[in-house]
């Protein structure tokens, strides 16, 4: 049976048989880096294509359909165009920060990839504070956005960056609380442990209503954190033209664009891990036969399937809802999401202590 685990195992044994351990470590690091970058490119192109298709069908259009079957090479062609475009730096911009900002955003997105478990035993770094690491590092990207907004020497960019700052700082809270409510159940921050704890059913089913509430809060908060509509105030096309990346062009713009999609992928994979069991197949209690059949589907497919479902959900939001106003955005967080998630955490703790979950 196809599994990613087998491939890594095979590479590892082959390298160990031929080289000494230092070289193996180095070679594996390079391989992982290359694989991560390749994943980035593929994900970026794929998700942009998916977004355009989803948007098109919801808007009774066809979407890209000229280049390749169903237009799947359209995004590659767009990337090619962006690479060939001139990367303008506006007059009066802080050139160093202006050029640095897209890389910061990109690198942050790359860093968060480390603890995510893509398939059974297929993980770059099984760190014991995995979830904490993800929520800590992912909020660093706001620094890149602030840099971009400040250094562009453009008032629209500045406004967009400031909005983004306020937004990410506040929504980090409820995203964190939603994550904690699952951590309460598992008792571990390690991604692998969280997945293992869903051996006999996913948390969204096992955790009663509190788990569902925290899932809803999580999905709202991460939509806001990734600056997606209806929380795309940092970009707010009709208000701030393009917000913090108004002045960017060419590949530097493409990096922002790519980082947005990578961030969506990452938060959705975290959501899938916490609430839908990551790569864990759909198991129901101790129905051995059923569980066994489900195990035949490769774990990587389970993982990507769940993640893409969540990404689709976020895209669905984007193409349905109008944008919030900046004060309403903060109202939503501080008056609704935060109290609800605090109360929900309390409820979840009670559930965990009393052992009411399955």
């Amino acid at each position: 049976m196809f599994s990613l685990e087998g491939i890594t195992k095979a590479i590892d044994t082959w390298l160990n048989a031929h080289f000494n351990s230092t070289v193996v470590l180095l070679a594996e690091c390079v391989l992982v880096g290359v694989a991560a970058i390749a994943l980035f490119a593929v994900l970026g192109l794929g998700l942009v294509w998916m977004e355009r298709k989803v948007a098109a069908v919801m808007q009774i259009r066809l979407g890209p359909n000229r280049l390749g079957p169903k237009g799947i090479f359209q995004t590659s062609a767009d990337t090619l165009k962006l690479i060939m475009k001139e990367g303008l730096t506006p007059d009066g911009a802080d050139k160093f920060l202006f050029n640095l900002a897209p890389f910061i955003v990109m690198i942050v997105a790359m860093l968060v990839l480390a603890p995510i478990s893509f398939a059974k035993n297929f993980q770059i770094w099984d760190i014991n504070i995995g979830v904490l690491y993800v929520s800590a590092v992912s909020s660093l990207s706001v620094i890149g956005i602030l840099m971009a907004g400040w250094s562009s020497n453009n008032k629209y960019s500045l406004l967009g960056a400031m909005r983004s700052g306020a937004q990410i700082v506040s929504y980090e809270l409820s995203a964190g609380l939603a994550i904690i409510s699952i951590v309460v159940l598992t008792g571990s921050l390690s991604i692998n442990d969280i997945i293992q704890s869903q051996q006999n059913g996913w948390w969204i089913f096992k955790g009663h209503i509190p788990a569902i509430i925290s899932f809803i809060i999580f999905i709202i908060a991460v939509t806001a954190e990734t600056n997606r509509a209806p929380f795309d105030l940092a970009e707010a096309e009709s208000e701030l033209t393009a917000g913090f990346h108004t002045e960017y062009s060419g590949m530097k713009f493409a990096l922002f664009f790519l980082a947005e999609y990578i961030n969506i992928f990452i938060v959705c994979s975290i959501g899938a891990t916490l609430f839908f069991g990551g790569w864990m197949p759909l198991h129901i209690g101790n129905w051995e036969a059923f569980n066994h059949i489900m195990d035949f589907i490769p774990s990587s497919i389970w993982f990507f399937g769940k993640t893409i479902f969540l990404i689709f959900l976020i895209m669905w939001f984007r193409w349905t809802f109008p944008r919030l106003r900046v004060d309403q955005l903060l109202n939503l967080e501080w008056k609704y999401l935060l109290p609800i998630s605090l109360f929900n955490l309390l409820l979840m703790t009670v559930v965990a202590i009393m052992g009411w979950h399955f």
């Binding site: 069908v57 919801m58 808007q59 009774i60 259009r61 066809l62 669905w316 193409w319 349905t320 609800i340």
Partner: protein, 158 residues
């Protein structure tokens, strides 16, 4: 009391958002609602309105004859100076001179497709064609001569 209102607010909001998502979800699952037309590909089946005003043409019959007497009514009616008529004098068999058109110049680049020239024409010599693909690489190509070379006025048209 406050709590009840609060929960009500949240539920109402959630309901309104879900109804919105229901609509987009419906379109996502019903591809037959797509209304896009694949324009350059569907040239063969493209249905154009018969009256669509694309450009002014002068219909000629099989004997290379048209109905334009060169009265300049269209030239006067045109608000933009799109039409210029250059007349000549044909010598009739009985020795009389008769006014006829030499060149009917039509500047497509100035035309706003208002249709006033067609309205003004007393002999229905010109009409609006429903062609619409007018882009050319050279602007000079937009200045057209509507009467075909060697064409004559149809017998009996005054």
């Amino acid at each position: 009391m406050f709590l009840k209102e609060y929960i009500n607010d949240v539920l109402k909001a959630a309901k309104s958002l879900l109804t919105g998502m229901k609509v987009t979800g419906y379109y996502f699952t019903h591809r037959k609602e797509i209304i896009t037309e694949q324009y350059p590909d569907n040239r063969a089946t493209l249905q154009l309105a018969e009256r669509f005003r694309g450009e002014v043409v002068m219909p000629h019959d099989e004997n290379n004859q048209h109905a334009c007497t060169g009265c300049s009514a269209c030239e006067i009616a045109c608000p933009n100076g799109t039409i210029k008529i250059i007349n000549k004098f044909d010598i009739q068999p009985d020795g009389k001179k008769k006014k006829a058109i030499d060149t009917f110049v039509y500047h497509l680049e100035l035309c706003t497709m208002c249709g006033l020239c067609v309205e003004a024409c007393p002999t229905s010599a010109i009409k609006m064609a429903n062609t619409f693909e007018h882009s050319v690489f050279n602007r000079n190509q937009l200045t057209k001569r509507l009467n075909q070379p060697g064409s004559k006025i149809r017998e009996g048209v005054e």
